[in-house]
Symmetry: C2
Subunit: 516 residues, 2 copies
C-alpha cells in the first residue's frame, strides 16, 4: 500500500494495527546516496574494525535523505503454516511546515540517483507528496514554540498595551507611531463601551516594520475579557479586525485553537510516529544488509547517532548476515537480496506461504519490483521465514515451521552485516566485537602516483596478495603467509618512497595518536 | 522547446544557430537550493559589501545543482519592430557516464524543492533525462584518460606480454598464474602460425583478481600486426576472444574506435557545449536578478569561481537592476519578474512585438508558467525589450525601437543586482564598487538570547531604527540620524552584555583581522 502525505493520516491506524498484531516486521529504506566523501570502496575498507566502519558511515553517509521507507508486517495465521502480510511503501520528504521550521538540507549522490532513476523510482512523488517528519529534538522545539505562544497569550492580563505611555508597555513605541497607537486605543475603548458595536476594523497598517512589531505584540497579548483580534492581508495591506466576544466564546475559541495546534504538531511529527510505533512495539525487525537503514532511521527520525553500544533497544535481525552464517553459509552462494530470495524457494528450502491481508495489494515475486522499499521489505520477510523454517529441520522431531519467537533464531539477533569486511562478519550491537587475527596484514604508505600494479610489483616475491585501499597514499596488503609479514617489513626498512608496517604496529600507532 | 538527454544531440545545431543569429540572449536557471548554511536573510545581509556578498554566495550557494537552464534567443526582423524568438528549456543532471567519471554530490534545500514541487516542477525529468555536463577541468581529465589509453595501446609494440619470463613484461606474473599464461601463449602462437584459424577463445578466466589484471594488461597493449582482442562476460565468467585481423582492418578498427571516443567525450561534455557557445558568441546575455545564475553557470560548467574581477568576459545585463535604476525606478514599483513583465506592457511602456520562430512552441504570457526556466528567460527578454525601447523615447527625435547594440543600454552592462543590499544597488563586474556612506550604521554584539525587540528596546531613545541580523549574536542597526551614532556608542561604553561600535570601526577591525 502506497502511503504519501495526503493519505498518511487516514491510514495511520492501519499501520499501527499492522505493527501491533505482527509476529515480526521487515523494513527497507532507499537513500539519496551512500558516501559524501571517500569512494564507496574506501568507505568500506576490507580491514575496517566494526567500530571504524560505524564511525565512517556516521560521518559520510548521514547527510543523505532516506526518502522511501518500506514496512511489511507478517502475522502467522492460527495454523502457523501461513503468514498474512501487510506491506506499506512510504514516501518521505522534510517539507517545511512553517517559516520557523527546520529547512533541511540533504545531499544527493549522482550515481545513486541515476541508479534509482533507472529503476523507475518516482522522485516527483517524494518531493511533491512525501510525508514530513521531525526528530525528537525538533519535536521538542516545536512543542516549546507552541507552549511559549500560548503562555504569552494567556499571561498578558492587563491592558498595558493600549496606553502608549504606560511603563509596563512591552515595546517602546517610537514618537512617530504614537499617534497611530493613540487612535487605535480610542477606537478600542469605543468598541468596549458601545454595546451595539460588535467589531471594528482598524485603518490599514502601512506595512512598515514598526507596525508589524506592534501588531504582533498586540497579538501576543490576550486582551482580557472580551476582545478578540484577528488580521488579514489584502492587496499587500494589513488589516486588523477587533471584535468583542464573551468569555464562553473566548474559551471555546481557545480550545479549538489548542486542538488545532495539537493536530499541527502531530502532522509535523508525521512519519516519525510510524518509527516510534515500531520502536515501542518491541517486535522483531528484519532487514537485509540493514546497518545503513538502521542508522538512517535513527538519525533522521529520532536523534543524533549514539555510540554503537547505545544504538538499539530493539530486536534486529539481518537476513544477509543470517544467510552468510552456519548452517546457511555452505548452501547459499549469493546473498544479494534478489538472488537470496530465489535461492530460498528451492531445495533444501521451502517457499513460505504468505498471503496479502484483505484490502492490501499483493506483490508478485515473479515480476520483480526490486528497489521499491516496500517490495524489498516484503521479500526480506520471505527470506527470513524460509531460513527460520529451515532451522526447524535440525530439531528432533523436525519442525516445518519456526516462529519469529523461537529460541532457534536468537543467535542472529542484533548482529548487523558488515559489507566487504574480510574477516569480521558483523557489527555486534550487544557485546564486544569479534577480534580477528590480522597477522598476515601489512599497512603500506606510498606516493600517490602509485597504482595497484606498483603494489603487486613491490610484493611480487610474496605470491598472491590482496590490496585494500585506504586512501591515495595507503593501503592494507594481505599476504597469504603470515610468516612472510616480518620479511616484508624488514626488506622495506631502507626504502625511501614507501613504508611498510605490520597491522599490529599500525593499530598501536593509531591508538597512541588518539591518546595524544 | 524542451531539451533532455535523448534529444540533446539532435537539437544542438538548432541551439548553436539560435545563438549565432541572435541580437541578444536571455537566460534563467533553477537550482536545488539557495543557502547551505545561514538563513537566506543572513546570507543576504542589508549591509554586505558587494565583495562580501559574492564571497558568501560562493561559499554557501555553490553546492546546489543548477538543474534547469532556460535559454531564449531574440532576433529582430528586418523592420527592427519585431523580434523572432527561440526558446529552449534544458534539463540538466550530472549522470556519471562510466566507473571513473566524477560522481557529483549536490545539496538540496527542502524549502526550494518544496517551492518548485508546488509549481509542478518535474524532478523525474531532471533525474531520468537530464543532460550531463563537465567543467573544463573534468573535460581535460577525461581527454587525458583517453589519450593515455590510446598511447598505451599504440606504444606496446613487442610481444613481451606473451612470454611469462620476459624482462619487459609489464606485470610480474605470480607463480601460480604462470601455467595459465603459458597455455595462453601457446594457443596464441598456434593461432598466428595456423593460416586457417581466424580466431580463438581462451579458457574462461576464473574471475580472480590476477586474471583481471592480466586481461587488462593484455588489453592495454596492442598486439603488433595481426592480433585483435576482445572479451565478454557470460554467467559471471570472463571469456577472452582473440582474432587475427590484417593491418588494414586493424587501422580501420582503430579509427572507428577513435571516432567513438571523440563522440563519447563530446557526449560527456554535454550541456557545457551550450554554455561554451554562449560564451564564445560574445552576444549580450540578459537575466533577471542574475547573479546566482551567472555564478552557478560558471561554477558548474566552466571552472571554480574566480575573484569578482575575473568573473566575466561577456556582456551581461540584469533586468532587475535596470528596472531599479533611472529612468525606470520612478515608474516601476515592483521589480519581481512576473510583476515587472505585467507593468512593462502598460503606459508609458509598450508590449514588445515578439513571435516564436517556426517550429518553436510559443509561450502564452496570459497563462503564466513561471519558474520554468525557459519561460522565465522568455519574459526576461520581453522586459528587456520594453525597457530598451522606452529609452528611445528620450532621444530627439524619439525612436520606437532600440536595439540590443544601442549605446543607450551600455550604462547597464555588467552590473548585477544585489538583493536586499540597502544602499549598493549592484555588483560591478568591470570596475570598483560603489562606496556608500554608512555613517548612520552601528554594529552591535549581544548575547544570543536577545530578540529583535531587545534591540528596539536598547535603541528606543533614537527613534526609528532598522535591524539587519548578521548572526545569532550580532547585527547592524541603522539610525535615522547619523548624528546620534556617536551618542549611541558612548552610552554603551560601560555596558557588559552588549557592545556597540560604528560601522567604520567595525570595518577597520575586520580589515586588521584579515591582515593578521
Ligand atoms: N594512489 C592510488 N590510489 C588509489 C588507486 N586505486 C584506488 N586508490 C585509492 O583508493 C580509493 C578507492 O579506490 P577503488 O578501490 O578503486 O574504488 P572505487 O573508486 O570505488 O572504484 C580511491 O579513491 C583512491 O583514494 C591507485 O591506483 N593509486
Ligand atoms: N539572537 C537572535 N538572533 C536572531 C534573531 N532573529 C534572527 N536572528 C539571527 O539572524 C538570522 C536571520 O534571521 P531572520 O532575519 O529572522 O531571517 P530568517 O531566519 O530567514 O527568517 C538567524 O538565523 C539568527 O542567526 C533573534 O531574535 N535573536
Amino acid at each position: 500500500m502506497e502511503i504519501i502525505r495526503s493519505n498518511f493520516k487516514d491510514n495511520l491506524n492501519k499501520v499501527y494495527e499492522a505493527i501491533e498484531e505482527a509476529d515480526f516486521l521487515a523494513i527497507d529504506g532507499e537513500f539519496s546516496g551512500i558516501s559524501d566523501g571517500p569512494s564507496v570502496s574506501t568507505l568500506t575498507n576490507g580491514f575496517d574494525t566494526p567500530e571504524e566502519r560505524y564511525q565512517k558511515l556516521k560521518k559520510h553517509s548521514m547527510d543523505f535523505l532516506l526518502f522511501q521507507f518500506g514496512l511489511c508486517s507478517f502475522k502467522s495465521d492460527h495454523t502457523e503454516a501461513k503468514y498474512i502480510m501487510k506491506s506499506f511503501n512510504f514516501y518521505i520528504f522534510p517539507k517545511p511546515f512553517n517559516r520557523s521550521s527546520p529547512d533541511v538540507k540533504f545531499v544527493c549522490q549522482s550515481s545513486s540517483i541515476d541508479f534509482l532513476a533507472n529503476q523507475g523510482f518516482d522522485f516527483n512523488k517524494v518531493f511533491r507528496n512525501g510525508i514530513p517528519y521531525l526528530n525528537q529534538e525538533e519535536e521538542r522545539q516545536l512543542r516549546e514554540q507552541y507552549d511559549e505562544k500560548r503562555s504569552q497569550a494567556n499571561g498578558a492580563g492587563t491592558l498595558s498595551y493600549i496606553s502608549p505611555n504606560a511603563t509596563k508597555c512591552p515595546v517602546t513605541i517610537p514618537e512617530d507611531q504614537k499617534k497611530f497607537i493613540e487612535r487605535v486605543v480610542e477606537q478600542i475603548e469605543d468598541l468596549i463601551q458601545n454595546e451595539e458595536n460588535k467589531s471594528l476594523q482598524l485603518e490599514p497598517c502601512t506595512g512598515s516594520h514598526w507596525d508589524s512589531v506592534l501588531v504582533s505584540h498586540i497579538f501576543c497579548q490576550a486582551i482580557p475579557g472580551i476582545i478578540y483580534l484577528r488580521h488579514y492581508c489584502f492587496q499587500k495591506e494589513r488589516y486588523i479586525v477587533i471584535s468583542k466576544v464573551d468569555e464562553e466564546e473566548r474559551k471555546k475559541r481557545e480550545q479549538q485553537k489548542q486542538a488545532k495546534e495539537q493536530e499541527e504538531l502531530s502532522d509535523a511529527v508525521g512519519f516519525s510516529r510510524v518509527i516510534h510505533a515500531i520502536a515501542n512495539s518491541g517486535k522483531l525487525v528484519v532487514g537485509h544488509n540493514m546497518l545503513l537503514d538502521v542508522m538512517h532511521t535513527i538519525h533522521q527520525f529520532y536523534c543524533p547517532l549514539p555510540e554503537v553500544s547505545g544504538l538499539v533497544s530493539l530486536q534486529l535481525l539481518d537476513t544477509k548476515l543470517m544467510a552468510s552464517t552456519q548452517p546457511f553459509k555452505e548452501i547459499i552462494n549469493n546473498t544479494s537480496l534478489a538472488e537470496l530470495e530465489k535461492r530460498l524457494k528451492k531445495i533444501p528450502f521451502n517457499p513460505p506461504e504468505v498471503e496479502s491481508a484483505e484490502g492490501f495489494p499483493s506483490y508478485d515475486t515473479a515480476s520483480e519490483q526490486l528497489h521499491e522499499a516496500g517490495y524489498d521489505a516484503y521479500i526480506t520477510g520471505l527470506c527470513f521465514i524460509s531460513m527460520a523454517n529451515y532451522l526447524g529441520s535440525f530439531l528432533s522431531p523436525p519442525k516445518d515451521h519456526v516462529s519469529a519467537r523461537s529460541k532457534l533464531i536468537e543467535p542472529f539477533f542484533n548482529k548487523l552485516f558488515l559489507m566487504r569486511v574480510m574477516d569480521i562478519p558483523y557489527l555486534n550491537l550487544e557485546g564486544p566485537d569479534l577480534q580477528p587475527k590480522r597477522d598476515h596484514v601489512l599497512h603500506v604508505t606510498f606516493p600517490k602516483e602509485w597504482k595497484t600494479s606498483d603494489l603487486y610489483q613491490l610484493f611480487s616475491a610474496f605470491g598472491n596478495i590482496l590490496v585494500s585501499w585506504i586512501d591515495d597514499t595507503s593501503a592494507f596488503v594481505s599476504l597469504s603467509q603470515p610468516e612472510q609479514v616480518q620479511i616484508a617489513v624488514n626488506t622495506s626498512r631502507y626504502a625511501e618512497s614507501y613504508r611498510i608496517q605490520t597491522y599490529a604496529e599500525y593499530v598501536e600507532k593509531k591508538h597512541e595518536e588518539k591518546q595524544a
